[in-house]
């Protein structure tokens, strides 16, 4: 009984130095841990990391290198995470957790040959299209902001579509702009395709 009281007293009346130490350790540890976590997270948000596996490097990355988001007149680029990982923290973490499935996919070799990749392309593409459709093409809009689109600078076909379907919210970017960064799967049965 006496021992318990002593312990309680020691805990409830800590010395000032102890409190300071605990706070300092907690603060310092927090900074290190949080900083480390964010650094590690941002390391997984680079093109080098994404193309670290041959599944990405040999398939989607090669296709993407021929498109306007890789090479263009002004040299502004959208790298893998710009389109495939949300920018704000909450959505990013959710996406990152969901993407951990890809690690499992790599370990089990679900698309480790070109043939397997091509066979899976449609289901993977449809999953990504659905994600973009559901969030109103949020990642596109990080750069392509409708508010600042100058219709007088666009081609007449673009103006026609953007001023009607996109402006009214009836359609979102991905509804029309599929296959702009990677090759398309068999589009039979996909809305808007022959």
């Amino acid at each position: 009984m006496n021992i318990i009281k002593k312990i309680w007293r020691a805990l409830s009346t800590p010395s000032k130095a102890g409190v300071g130490l605990v706070l300092a350790l907690g603060f310092g540890g927090g900074v290190v841990f949080w900083g480390g976590f964010n650094t590690a997270l941002s390391l997984t948000n680079t093109e080098e990391f994404c193309t670290g596996c041959h599944e990405m490097a040999d398939n989607v990355y090669q296709e993407y290198r021929e498109t306007i988001h890789y090479s263009n007149r002004s040299g502004v680029r959208a790298t893998c995470p710009d389109c495939h990982v949300p920018k704000d923290w909450t959505h990013k973490i959710i996406r990152k957790i969901a993407a951990s499935k890809e690690v499992w996919g790599m370990l089990t070799g679900i698309i480790d040959t070109r043939e397997k990749f091509v066979e899976h392309r449609k289901s993977m593409a449809m999953r990504e299209w659905k994600r973009m459709k559901d969030n109103d093409s949020r990642e596109c809009r990080n750069c392509h902001n409708f508010e600042y689109m100058d219709f007088s600078e666009q081609g007449s076909r673009s103006v026609k579509m953007h001023s009607s379907a996109l402006a009214s919210g009836e359609k979102t970017c991905i509804d029309c702009h599929k296959g702009i960064a990677h090759e398309l799967p068999d589009m039979k049965g996909v809305e808007g395709w022959h």
Binding site: R157, I180, H194
Partner: protein, 155 residues
Amino acid sequence: MKKIITALLILGMATSVVAIANENTVPSNNGGVESLRGSTEIDVTRKADKHKRVIKDREPLQRNYVHQPPIIPHQIRGYKVNLNANKCLSCHGWKYARETGATKVSPTHFETRDGMTLSDISPRRYFCMQCHVPQVDAKPLVENKFKAVDSLTQH
């Protein structure tokens, strides 16, 4: 007889020597002919022409002769036409033409070479860019006096 053979041999040797000598002294290996490639010699890599710019968007262009495949009056960068997808038909297909305001694919594209009409684009007419091409802002390579037939000329 012997003399004739010797004479022929000497003559033959003499002509081949002359031929070799001539080969060494030929001034150019394009025969002095100027083509679209210019007067650059065959073994020399000519400096490439500048890229021509595809004209962005404009009204449909008039045709020059009957059955001319109409020219594409817009950019088509990145448009895929392959086994998996046909981007052209996303606007020009009959399903979408009204909505997008694009020219409908002509009914001739639904016919087989035997004249049978199919329910969808005939495989022999599926690859649009075999006949239809976008236009660049380029001058005719050779000066010519071509005029469209009168019935197709818009006045």
